[in-house]
Symmetry: C2
């Protein structure tokens, strides 16, 4: 019988596709936990999530199992473990740059909805915005205050909500100041020019175009 | 010699992964066009985009070629054709529901940055918001005005910027009123319950979690 091995994470490299499914597991398990269910089989979970049971077993095995054959998964333990894998207990410090409409919305969102990242400051290059409040944060100056904040708080992540050209110009400066990861809302393909940066893109216009394409499909 | 066959689209089913790359081709080709370059080889394009040349040839072949061997691609023609494939010339009518911070930002974004979708109305269920302006649009009532607008304008796409439970409750009503596609910013997995709807998810919190995970990788 396979035993629970909650903390024996395997060292093998986990594919990007598996990683991309983890936040979804985490969301579903959070909801299942709230519903009061204590154990869940891979079959039940697969039906809820629209994946195959073997896919689920395979995904979770990448991180060392969690399950006990015939007994299913302990929902709370699995949720907690995936949370730990996703670093929900150890937030990275983030700063947001570019407080236009989208930047402001993302800033409010990150302040209220996010674990795993702690938004500690927001910046804009427009002097008219300096000193104004957005949620619980004050808009500070780019680049002067940015350098100070980086020295003081050592944020590791920048949330880029600026136009493409500004983003391209800005990235070397961010790296100089200790930024190692980018949540990229701009149209600049950061990862191409800086393969060592950790980059996650949110290209809303690409999603709109993809949906538009799908609307024409039979 | 392979000839240009700009309009002979093949009927074969195009994989989701190829479709997801098209908006990126479109963006890059738009920039290349602006830079004044008239022709580009698959090798040059591959270097700019971080794909292999054979990948690019394979992708573009799905839609019937566009290239002329040894001469490369005509940038303007390729950009135009991909734009046509993506429906940029024939926008779908869209409505946005849920004008919170994120909804407001997405609304402003869609009004100014988007072709292929035309945002024609925004809705909220909070009476305090009715009648207020967001960009060039007036916030209208959900569900009353929504029914009227659907009769009048027949929008096909709904942009969902409401919380998960509200989204779940709302989707059958949207379908009744003619909505066939969802740009889904909510945490509700619409596509699971309604496999016939065209759905494109923008899960910002999943992107944040994925980036958080990557930050811990060696």
């Amino acid at each position: 019988m396979q035993t629970e091995n909650l903390n024996e994470k395997t060292d093998k490299v986990v594919s990007e596709r598996v990683i991309r499914r983890l936040p979804r597991y985490y969301r579903f398990l959070g909801d299942i936990m709230l519903s009061g269910m204590e154990r869940i089989s891979s079959r039940e979970l697969s039906e809820m999530m629209g994946l195959t049971a073997s896919q689920i077993r395979q995904d979770l095995n990448c991180f060392g199992g969690f399950g006990q054959q015939g007994y299913g998964y302990n929902v709370r333990a699995l949720h907690r473990e995936i949370g730990l894998i996703l670093g929900q207990d150890a937030p990275e410090k983030a700063v947001l740059i570019g407080v236009g409409n989208l930047g402001a919305a993302v800033s409010m969102y990150m302040e209220t909805h996010t674990r795993g990242m702690e938004l500690c400051s927001v910046f804009d290059s427009d002097p008219q915005k300096w000193g104004k409040r957005i949620g619980g944060l004050t808009i500070r100056s780019m680049p002067d205050d940015f350098v100070k904040v980086c020295k003081e708080l050592s944020p590791s992540v920048a949330v880029l909500c600026v136009p493409k050209d500004a983003a391209k110009q800005m990235v070397p400066f961010l790296i100089e100041n200790g930024i190692r990861g980018i949540l990229n809302f701009s149209h600049y393909d950061v990862a191409l020019d800086y393969p060592k940066l950790k980059v996650e893109n949110v290209h809303i216009s690409d999603s709109i175009m993809t949906l538009r394409y799908k609307m024409s499909e039979k």
